[in-house]
Symmetry: C2
Subunit: 245 residues, 2 copies
């Protein structure tokens, strides 16, 4: 069964409260990193895998994309996404691994903070390679292997006697696969993939790596949200741009 | 001043004892990973940056390379390297960052466990791109960013009450640069580079990434050297193959 945690009411409420509170990881770290690597999308046909509430789909339309297909497994998230969605976006309710398309359909495939819910990256990467036109871009963010490796195995962070972060336990790196932890609710499942698996899966899918980011916030955003400073100490996010040439 | 720790007698003795003892990281983890990514070297002209005792230079000749240039800053290591060296190897006594060559000279540039002693990778990577013929291969191993990030800042490993490894402290990841720690002697300096810096420095030097490994030992070798099992929990090594096309 594919996990659809975003349709769990307790999770959804916690997640929405986090987004409304703007803890900033998405707004100040992830989105700027994605936007910094986005190619010119004027007139582009784009696919957003795990589009959630549709923010990146809207952004792509705003930046000139001709049409965007947004795919998400959560009815809750798609209901948010469809509210006042501009023309040019088509939302599809399904797991990203069930999506199919004709070869050579998209100029751009994006995926924001969704791929760490997937056990098998390479099968999807090979499909994405097929769906992309030549040239085409695949740009994604996911949880960083240094963040996922010990999730649910050790405490996320070891604190000093004042409660400040001392360091982050690192372990079980080569043991890829399922990690279960508490995030708003118990039993949220993500999959740990090593960096070499992520990158070699792209390469084996005939995609060329063109940039890798481990983004942090700007000093100004860190002042607004001091917890973001810890991103410099242990990155949460990995952002990769790959191209079909 | 460039560090020449291998000519420090205490360090050199400790290092030689380690190599003679075959703790196995070099023999069972690093070398197999490098050899697994080596292209066909028949007739090749190769450069080995930080060649140490010349093992990889000899291996390249054994595998059919026509000539190999080995560069190392340590007279101690080069003295070992020159003992009974086969024809076809030329050793040069200098820091790898001082080496110069004509453009389009080498089919292959290798560097085994040396680049973590270098503060500025990108300048060297750009030079390597120039020295390589088209097509050409640059294959290197270096200490893994998850290993270097907290070196000299936190204990390398946190142990449980029985002395077994519990986890490895991870910290200071984005704070690139000098790390000083004890390795046979005090004050051994290495430089921490993030994974994104290592990979983007290659890409900015017009080198394409063709494989990334975070190698571990085989179960058989782990039986011979049980401490090698910890490589599965926290990798020490990163191996990257890049190509000039």
């Amino acid at each position: 069964m594919k996990q659809n945690i975003y349709d769990n009411p307790s999770f959804f409420n916690g997640y929405q409260a986090m987004r409304d509170n703007q803890t900033g990881l998405h707004q100040f770290v992830e989105q700027p990193a994605i936007l910094s690597l986005l190619p010119d999308v004027t007139g582009a046909t784009a696919l957003d895998l795990g589009c959630g509430a549709g923010g990146l789909c809207r952004k792509l339309i705003e930046l000139g994309s001709a049409c965007v297909v947004g795919v998400d497994i959560s009815r809750n998230m798609l209901a948010l996404a469809q509210k006042d969605a501009p023309a040019g976006i088509e939302f599809r309710h399904m797991a990203m691994e069930d999506f199919t398309a004709q070869d050579n359909t998209f100029d751009l495939v994006v995926s924001s903070l969704a791929l760490h819910y997937l056990a098998d990256l390479e099968t999807l990467f090979r499909r994405i390679h097929g769906w992309l036109k030549t040239p085409g871009t695949f740009l994604f963010s996911m949880e960083h292997p240094a963040f996922t490796c010990a999730q649910g195995i050790h405490p996320d962070c070891i604190e000093d006697e004042t409660g400040a972060p001392l360091y982050w336990p690192f372990d079980c790196y080569s043991d890829e696969g399922r990690r279960e932890s508490h995030w708003f609710v118990d039993g949220v499942v993500r999959y740990h993939h090593t960096l070499s698996t992520i990158l070699n899966s792209l390469l084996r899918s005939s995609l060329q790596i063109s940039a890798v980011l481990e983004p942090v916030a700007t000093p100004a955003h860190e002042q607004k949200q001091p917890p973001l400073k810890t991103e410099r100490r242990r990155p949460t996010l990995l952002v990769v741009k790959a191209v079909k040439l």
